[in-house]
Symmetry: C2
Subunit: 320 residues, 2 copies
């Protein structure tokens, strides 16, 4: 049994709690939030016994094996580090750090403290991803060469919400990892950012687009936003056909089209779209691993470096 504590009780913490309830090897021992009302409501809703306003109290609690970090982006690194020093295993919401320097530092701390650390990127742990990779490997669309993936949404501006705060807000930090991690999962090798652009508004990026090239000629066009809506979908084109993957980051089905024929593949989650990620932590801890083999820390670092590169190389459009 893995006994979790949760830091931060926003939307994603609710999803974690619901999903954790589906896993017989997981309990949530304690949650922490600065808001007492939030904490009490959360405990009542999910039948959790302990609530604290003091994050340190949770991190020090001897009955806790692992901490799920679900606070705003800007506080990830400092809280991850505190947990690691206390020898608590950590599952941290993406992005693990605000930049590659933060991620690199956390990797060193995890290694020196010999504690498990994983960035919560649900997509890597879905059954459909294995099926997708198998279909690609079998040559269903010939040689895969081009990938498009977007994560667009309209988030109404809310003063004080961390998503709109300079430094920790913006589309790239919030949703950039979705299309980026998908591309890294489907294509092999290290891509370089050929071109990128950001639409900036009040100091944060509300839209990004990036073109990445892989050494062997593959390329991908990635997009994400908090200022526009369109269906979230990934597309992979190969020399012999096309793969279409709706909601690729929580994928349950995809369609292969080749030579005018379409075939649909389906594969359900075991539980919900977060179950794979939670089970991965359980499996790793039970096996005594310090990293996930499906989403190791070097991959988190690569994602952070690509996010940095997209930001650095971007042509910026400040729309005020």
């Amino acid at each position: 049994m893995i006994r979790f504590g949760i830091l931060g009780l926003g939307n994603i913490a609710h999803r974690f709690a619901r999903s954790a309830q589906l896993n017989p090897n997981v309990t949530i021992e304690m949650v922490a939030s600065s808001s007492q009302a939030k904490g009490e409501a959360f405990c009542q809703k999910y039948g959790i016994r302990h609530y604290t306003q003091d994050y340190t109290q949770l991190m020090d609690h001897p009955a806790i094996d692992a901490v799920y970090i679900a606070v705003p982006h800007g506080r990830h690194a400092v809280l991850v580090e505190k947990c690691l020093h206390r020898h608590k295993a950590v599952l941290c919401e993406k992005p693990l750090g605000l930049n590659a320097a933060e991620v690199s530092h956390l990797m060193q701390v995890a290694a020196s403290e010999q504690v498990f650390l994983m960035e919560a990127v649900k997509g890597y742990f879905l059954p459909a991803r294995d099926q997708l990779k198998e279909v690609l490997k079998q040559g269903a669309i010939g040689t895969p060469l081009y990938l498009e993936a977007n994560f667009d949404s309209v988030v109404p501006y809310q003063k004080g919400k961390y998503l709109f705060e300079k430094g920790q807000g913006g589309a790239l930090l919030d949703v950039g990892i979705y299309p980026l991690s998908f591309a890294l999962d489907m294509f092999e090798g290290d891509p370089v950012v050929a071109q990128s652009k950001l639409v900036m508004s009040q100091g944060i990026d509300t839209y990004f687009q990036a073109l990445l090239n892989f050494a062997d000629g593959q390329s991908c066009l990635l997009e994400g936003s908090i200022d526009r809506a369109r269906p979230r979908v990934a597309l992979i084109q190969g020399t012999q056909g096309t793969l279409e993957i709706p909601y690729y980051y929580r994928c349950q089905e995809f369609t292969v089209t080749s030579k005018g024929q379409s075939q649909k593949y389906e594969s359900s989650w075991h539980g919900d779209d977060m179950s794979g990620e939670i089970q991965e932590v359980v499996s790793c801890l039970q096996a005594g691993l310090l990293e996930s083999r499906l989403h190791p820390l070097c991959q988190s670092l690569k994602l952070a470096q690509l996010l940095d590169d997209i930001r650095t190389k971007a042509v910026c459009f400040d729309v005020g």
Copy 2:
């Protein structure tokens, strides 16, 4: 009065005839088509007196000042050249040639014969384009930096139709000039093709995408297809705002958004969306010009070179 002859009586010839009827300085003297039924129906519909199945007869006719060439792409160059040698002014449907070599050759013939030649790219002659350029120049969106334009459509496969014939068919030759000419009209300088891709089916490209970079850091992402549908729109992003131009190739309105405020601009055609193009031929011929100043032949050559480059550099996806 400019007396036109028309070679080829497909859809675009019908649009030309309708538009020509709106111009008091234009008559259509004669039309030519290999199909007698088409020819007779066309003459009856638009009140045209002469029809021939013999293209040479039309090109030699002394009562004709200018020839409008509306035959399939692959025959443009040879017919343009014949008309020029007979000292008939030529308005040729886009693309003027299948590649830069053809266009370059026609430029030389036009120059040596001292005859007017123009590629029919309607978009260059729309009142809204002047308005657009004025709005950009006045800094309504700050410094314009990025442009997106697409021309997507689903054309059902039709055996024998030139659009599906290897050599003269495909999306790039058919609609590539729409987004390309728009980009060249909005941004200054000569772009280079940074990256492109083609989806190939049965020997022709059914989709293209191209990323072009301008020397001063501006870039554009262009797309066209005959295998998918989405609204045809152009978008220009600047440091201070965004310009949205629906149906940019026959533009009547556009919207400027800056600092959260949107403003819509409207400007009707004089006549229809082809009227500007036809009037340009009339004005040039009346003024004794050998080229349009709004769409000179060096620009046609640039378009053809870019189409060649997009084709040469493209990553190709042969979907069978």
